[in-house]
């Protein structure tokens, strides 16, 4: 009997050992591109309302009328082969590409594109505001879309937005059931890839397969499938990449990213994004209501020290508009560089500083964001010698935002740290959301009010449609104005640090589409 037990135990062990052989699993197949992200991919499925991490997958399933090219700083044709506007920028005509079909099999027509955009406008969720200027849409023929706007707007840029600009087949399911049809894990785009399977909560959450009738065709070398892996731990992601089991990791920490430099199989890339970290200074109450104190804080920040501490994860931000986006300037009159002497002089003029009245400021930031935590710690230590004490409060974003929006000024913070990025390639996003006068605070968390700036931003929005050089000049003046009034300290621009297999060719980051990899454009190694 005992012999039987021993034999059975040995057999079981042998079975496990046999199973364990090759248990590392197959490496990523050459024709499958595997993208590693840290959190759930498909939060939303509806192309009209999606407004989250799903952009990384949906951008390979759906296409837009235009696509922003960061090299030319212009919107370029995508589903539209050409586009033009009248001189005022109030009527825009888009000529659609012929021979394009949705993944449902139906052809792309002006009527279908119109239906998609009108559904997005009607649902009015996520980034639907990008169609805000649209008064009506006409379809004079099967392949022409004409937008009549309420006021001049750069609709070529709006149409290239990362969210809410997707053109899709609204007839993929009956109108009342369409939202539910999407949520079940379907897509109805025109992009190169379509859903193969969706395994919610699994390591490989989503797999896309090539759409055989894709209008650009499948000649030449292309990936035939895309997998989206959800790997919360960066160390695990690094190990998967090192073992060649995945192709691309969206973000590691700077130390792990640097550890791949010189690797024979893994490449590293770094590119400045359009996401900048801003510290809003309370212009309405407390010591920061005094412009001199705000300017002193702006001079006291050790910008280069913060960037050094972030080990390549960030680069310097001059003004408000990030590098790579039109309206950005590498240098601006009145830009702040660390100057403690000036900071002390400004504080002294306001009655504060070393040996004078002490200042205590509350700073809020999002809990769990290690970069924000580091910045908060550095600001606290940099301002302490100036007799400015910073009380750091880390909290969940909804809590931080609720505190910032509080109708009771006494409950608000002095410094509000948060990221901002645009939904389409226009500096207007920063100004209208963050610095336009608000009766009740929403995103203007410096509580800043400057009627002159309000007028200038309204003019800049219209000029962007009709006269880009004039708009650029206006944005320069607006940024100089903000530097003078110092309602915000632009701390840095985040740098996208990517790691990918060297066998992946042709990868280029496009900051207009955060974290998106356009897999069709990549060339797998033969």
């Amino acid at each position: 009997m005992r012999l039987v037990r021993v034999t059975a135990a040995a057999a079981a062990l042998a079975a496990v050992a046999a199973l364990a052989t090759g248990a590392g699993g197959a490496a990523s197949t050459p024709r499958t591109f595997s993208y590693v992200t840290q959190s759930q991919v498909m939060i939303g499925w509806d192309p009209s309302t999606s407004y989250s991490n799903e952009i990384i997958a949906m951008s390979n399933m759906y296409e837009t009328l235009t696509h922003y090219n960061p090299a030319t700083k212009r919107a370029e044709p995508d589903l539209a082969t050409s586009f033009s506007s009248n001189k005022r920028g109030t009527v825009w005509t888009f000529k659609l590409r012929r021979g394009v079909t949705f993944h449902t099999g139906r052809p792309l027509t002006a009527q279908a594109a119109k239906a998609a955009i009108e559904r997005t406008i009607k649902l009015n969720q996520g980034a639907a505001y990008i169609w805000g200027p649209v008064k009506s849409i006409a379809t004079p023929n099967r392949y022409t879309l004409v937008f009549h706007l309420k006021y001049p707007a750069p609709l070529d840029l709006n149409a290239s937005a990362d969210y809410a600009a997707y053109i899709y087949d609204t007839k993929a399911a009956p109108a009342k059931k369409l939202a539910a049809w999407f949520v079940a894990g379907h897509d109805a785009g025109t992009g190169p890839y379509t859903v193969d399977y969706w395994h919610k909560g699994q390591e490989v959450e989503l797999r896309l397969k090539a759409y055989p009738k894709y209008w650009r065709g499948w000649r030449g070398s292309h990936y035939q499938a895309v997998e989206y892996w959800v790997v919360p731990s960066v160390t695990t992601a690094a190990q998967l990449l090192r073992a060649g089991k995945v192709s691309f990791v969206e973000r590691l920490n700077p130390q792990l990213w640097a550890s791949f430099k010189g690797s024979p199989t893994v490449a590293t890339t770094a590119r400045s994004s359009w996401q900048n970290l801003l510290a809003f200074l309370n212009t309405k109450s407390g010591p920061l209501a005094d412009r001199r104190v705000r300017q002193a804080i702006s001079y006291a920040v050790d910008y280069n020290g913060i960037i050094a501490a972030l080990k390549g994860d960030a680069t310097r931000q001059i003004g408000i508009v990030p590098p790579g986006l039109w309206g950005h300037f590498n240098s601006l009159p009145g830009e702040y560089n660390t100057n403690l002497r000036k900071a002390k002089a400004l504080l002294a003029a306001a009655g504060y500083g070393p040996g004078k009245k002490a200042i205590t400021l509350t700073l809020t930031h999002v809990q769990g964001d290690s970069d924000e935590e580091l910045v908060a710690t550095l600001l606290k230590s940099e301002l302490a010698p100036l007799n400015v004490q910073v009380q750091v409060e880390a909290m969940a974003w909804p809590t931080q935002w609720a505190k910032g929006k509080s109708l009771n000024p006494a409950k608000r913070q002095d410094i509000f740290v948060m990221y901002w990025w645009p939904d389409y390639a226009d500096p207007y996003s920063w100004f209208v959301n963050l610095f336009k006068t608000e009766k009740q605070p929403y995103f203007n968390l410096a509580y800043y009010s400057n009627p002159k700036l309000d007028r200038m931003m309204a003019k800049a929005e219209r000029l962007a449609a009709s006269d880009r050089p004039k708009a650029v000049a206006l944005y320069k003046r607006m940024q100089v104005m903000l530097l003078r009034d110092a309602p915000v300290v632009p701390l840095y621009v985040q740098v996208y640090q990517r790691t990918l297999l060297k066998s992946v060719r042709g990868y280029v980051d496009n900051p207009a589409y955060p974290n998106v990899v356009y897999v069709y454009d990549l060339k797998p190694a033969q």
Binding site: G24, G25, V230, V231, R242, T399, W401
Partner: protein, 338 residues
């Protein structure tokens, strides 16, 4: 026995209800508007108002709690703010993976803990005893994330023997698609006879199960050791020894069986504890369980998901306690007579 059981179930339900109310109130008292997470980062005030109404956040707290309880009883646990999916469907997709991991971890813990505890008692004061006590302290006190990283480094990075993450090799999804019945790949593969996935799922289970099982293994080993040593001093063991039974039989047959009663209680309680303890381990091994779901929920102030996870764990705790009570009552009639 029926009255005893009814009383225990009633008490358990009161505890669960209390936990839900407390979690609900705490989640609502924390400043912040979950609707801001629902609608996205650049939402307009009108969109935010619409989202608050749609999520029922504009109603008074007692009304929200009442609606929640009504929903729980009818299978509607609310919509997750973070995933935009029904919480119950999210839990149904995530909880089985956590349960699978915890069950595997407990099997590992029992397989190690019982023989180790027995050996420590058998050679009390000797080298095996010292080794088991040291191992138990190690298992109980070692940070799970550190242990996980070390195991990954050795078995994946160095030896290329075991997988680093996931529940099974994803490339099998194209060659051997898995029919999903329980959301537990080992069970699903076994039921459907999908042997490649079954083998892959078993090997993927080893490292996380060892990490999660380290704590209960330490507890069980110490409990078995202490319990067996207690039993050894009792009259019936002296009698067995006097009758000339070999020492191996004294330990394995006569001392271990009565000593296992407290171990059963501990195992049930450790099961519930381990379920909450897997969160970090799941993140490191990319295990699609409740861990990452709960972490995302907390970060985005996803009240329905936070309450859903809390409710689920409370139910498991209460269920485990109830099971212990029943088992003890079955084993020891004095308990149900009290």
């Amino acid at each position: 026995m029926t009255r005893f059981l009814a009383r225990r179930v009633a008490l358990g339900l009161i505890v669960v209800a209390g936990v839900v109310v407390l979690t609900f109130v705490i989640a609502r008292v924390v400043p912040g508007d979950p609707a801001s997470s629902w609608i996205g980062p650049h939402a307009s005030p009108a969109q935010l108002r619409a989202a608050r109404h749609m999520l029922g956040l504009d109603r008074p707290l007692p009304v929200q709690i009442w609606r929640y309880f009504r929903g729980v009883l009818t299978g509607d646990w609310g919509l997750s703010i973070h995933t935009h999916q029904p919480v119950l469907s999210d839990l149904a997709a995530r909880a089985p993976a956590s349960l699978e991991l915890v069950v595997a971890a407990l099997l590992v813990a029992l397989a190690f803990g019982i023989p180790a505890g027995l050996a420590a008692a058998r050679w009390r004061g000797g080298a095996p005893d010292a080794l088991v006590r040291l191992g138990s302290v190690f298992g109980v006190s070692m940070p799970s994330f550190w242990f996980a990283l070390i195991l990954q480094l050795i078995f994946f990075q160095r030896l290329h023997l075991l997988p680093v993450s996931g529940q099974y090799d994803p490339s099998l999804d194209t060659t051997h698609p898995l029919a999903v019945y329980t959301h537990m790949p080992v069970i699903d593969a076994l039921v459907s006879g999908n042997w490649p996935v079954f083998g892959s799922a078993l090997t993927h289970l080893i490292l996380p199960a060892v990490v999660v099982g380290a704590y209960p293994a330490g507890v069980i080993a110490r409990m078995v050791r202490a319990s067996v040593l207690d039993t050894l001093g009792e009259d019936h063991i002296r009698m067995v020894r006097a009758l000339g039974f070999p020492e191996r039989s004294v330990f394995a047959r006569f001392a271990l069986k009565p000593a296992l009663n407290p171990v059963i209680s501990v195992t049930a309680l450790v099961f519930a504890y381990s379920l909450a303890n897997t969160f970090l381990v799941e993140a490191i091994f990319d295990w699609g369980g409740l861990g990452s779901y709960a972490a995302d929920a907390i970060q985005s102030l996803d009240t329905p998901a936070i309450i859903g996870v809390t409710l689920f764990i409370a139910l498991v705790y209460v269920g485990a306690n109830l099971l212990v009570d029943i088992l003890q009552a079955v084993v020891d009639p004095r308990i149900r007579l009290q």
